[in-house]
Amino acid sequence: MKKGIGIGKEALRTISEGLTEVKVDEGEWEEMLVRVDELLNNIKALDEMELSQVGPAFSYNVRGEGE
């Protein structure tokens, strides 16, 4: 089963079982696919931003230090 961003249940299950070791119960995969699909789509939308000269913010930046 493919969703908008192209990640299927088996791919997610492989990542889940092989990499993150997080167990998802059989009856909850469909909801998971929808959520992951939505999340990845939203993350993809961040590509609109020009970030080539930008580093990440860390906690000490957020509290106003190191800027």
Binding site: L12, T20, K23, E28, L39, V62, R63, G64
Partner: protein, 470 residues
């Protein structure tokens, strides 16, 4: 002693009576416990009521005050704590089944500070499980009800804190705010909620949701009460690596006028997809502040539309990391379905996604700071909608449908992402009688300016005096 009208009582007003020994902390505490007994079955604000400890502490406070040992405005005043704030010897469930029997061995720093200020800790307040949700729908402890309409959510995650304050089951409460969790329920329940600057109030001893976005702050009935409570918990804590070592101003001596202050309105994001009644109330609030002498102008935060996603990605990744241990084992079955799903989804966020979100954060924070070179505060709606129904999953605003979670968080997350202080205060009611809020954000560590603007508005209006009929 005189009778205590808890519905109209504020920390500021009651503390004056306590100071003058016209009202005793024991009387206040007993009256509060009686009110909890009478109404909490209906509104489900509390997970644990600490009656015995509260009365013991009240007796000690009373004895101390009689001896002339009055400490300050929280001495003998009942305060509630979101049940994610650790309390030594008192169970702290985080609204979860997983930690249903967890009893911390020490107090959170904010609890220690409240105790030192003489506050009486009246109980632990209901919340969205592990603070991971905007509704406070809780499958383990029951869902707290909005006191203005029991068929509506109170908002979350600090829903119990907002309900307890709005229903006058305590004089003030502490909440936490990672994506709006103080300001969402404060907006929906018609109270004042303040998320301080990141690093202003210690998070030590508060169960983390997202280390880089978690904030602790006051939820109260008035702006002055927010100043009192913030002043008691703010300040550097070496046990919290995010805590900033800066002096804490006297928040209580709030400037009461806004003449000469400049406000920015980022209307291209904050007023899009906003309910008409909310928009009208907020626009009227802006007029009131203009009439009070404040300059109001449009400002632009160019990449604001990406803030909610960046904030959510960071939150989900950090929360998944914190909960990894539970997610890998059978304890995953003990989460409510919604929270388990969100945590599991967070495990699919890659390091590259997380860092992209942190880079977006750099940009948006700088854009906010640039705006604050021109204006002193930003004025926006608190939420785009009044309180949704308990079973409601989606809302439609101006023909556009979105999830309730998105509607409740999209105007809130930018300030968690940027770490800047933001406050909500009541600014009206919908035709159906539900509260509407104005949000005021300011420069980092300039909570005093936000409080001044809020105080100036509150002085001109009477929304904060309305109480739900119980």
């Amino acid at each position: 002693m005189r009778g205590i009208d808890l519905e109209s009582a504020t920390i500021e007003g009651l503390s004056e009576l306590v100071r003058k020994k016209e009202v005793s902390p024991v009387e206040v505490t007993r009256a509060t416990l009686q009110r909890i007994e009478k109404y909490d079955g209906e509104v489900k604000a509390f997970i644990t009521v600490t009656s015995e400890e509260a009365l013991d502490f009240a007796k000690k406070a009373e004895a101390s005050i009689v001896r002339g040992g009055y400490i300050g405005p929280l001495h003998g005043i009942p305060i509630g704590l979101k049940d994610i704030v650790f309390t030594k010897g008192i169970r702290t469930t985080c609204g979860s089944k997983i930690l249903a029997d967890y009893i911390p061995k020490e107090d959170a720093t904010v609890v220690d500070r409240l105790r030192r200020a003489g506050a009486i800790l009246i109980g632990k307040l209901n919340l969205h499980e592990f603070a991971f949700g905007a509704t406070s729908v809780n499958p383990h402890y029951g869902t707290p009800r909005n006191p203005w309409n029991g068929q509506c959510i109170p908002g979350g995650s600090s829903g119990g804190s907002a309900v307890a304050v709005a229903a006058s089951l305590c004089l003030g409460a502490l909440g936490t705010d990672t994506g709006g969790s103080i300001r969402i329920p404060s907006s929906l329940c018609g109270i004042v909620g303040l998320k301080p600057t990141y690093g202003r109030v210690s998070s030590y001893g508060v169960y983390p949701l997202s280390w880089s976005q978690d904030h602790v702050g006051p939820m109260v009935k008035t702006v002055k009460d927010a100043a009192i409570l913030l002043g008691s918990i703010a300040g550097h804590d070496p046990r919290d690596p995010a805590s900033r070592s800066l002096p804490v101003p006297d928040y209580v001596s709030i400037r009461e006028d806004v003449k000469g202050l400049r406000a920015g309105v980022p209307s291209d994001y904050y007023f899009e997809n906003c309910d008409t009644e909310v928009r009208d109330s907020v626009m009227k609030a802006l007029e009131i502040l203009k009439d009070a002498g404040m300059a109001v102008e449009e400002v632009t935060i160019p990449h604001l539309r990406h803030a909610a996603t960046a904030g959510l990605v960071i939150l989900m990744a950090e929360a998944a990391s914190k909960h990894e241990h539970y997610l890998k084992g059978n304890q995953r079955k003990e989460y409510g379905r919604d929270v388990r799903g969100l945590l599991q989804t967070g495990t699919f966020i890659t390091a590259a996604h997380y860092l992209k979100a942190q880079r977006v954060r750099s940009v948006i924070r700088k854009e906010f700071l640039k705006a604050f070179e021109i204006v002193d505060v930003l004025l926006t709606p608190g939420l785009p909608i009044p309180a949704p129904g308990l079973e409601q999953d989606s809302v439609t605003i101006s023909g556009k449908t979105e999830t309730v979670r998105s509607a409740l968080t999209r105007l809130m997350r930018p300030y968690n992402l940027a770490g800047i202080p933001a406050m909500v205060i009541p600014c009206g009611f919908s035709k159906s009688g539900l509260p509407v809020a104005l949000q005021i954000a300011g420069r980092p560590f300039e909570e005093s300016t936000i409080l001044a603007v809020a105080q100036a508005y509150e002085k001109q209006t009477r929304w904060h005096l309305r109480r739900p009929s119980m």
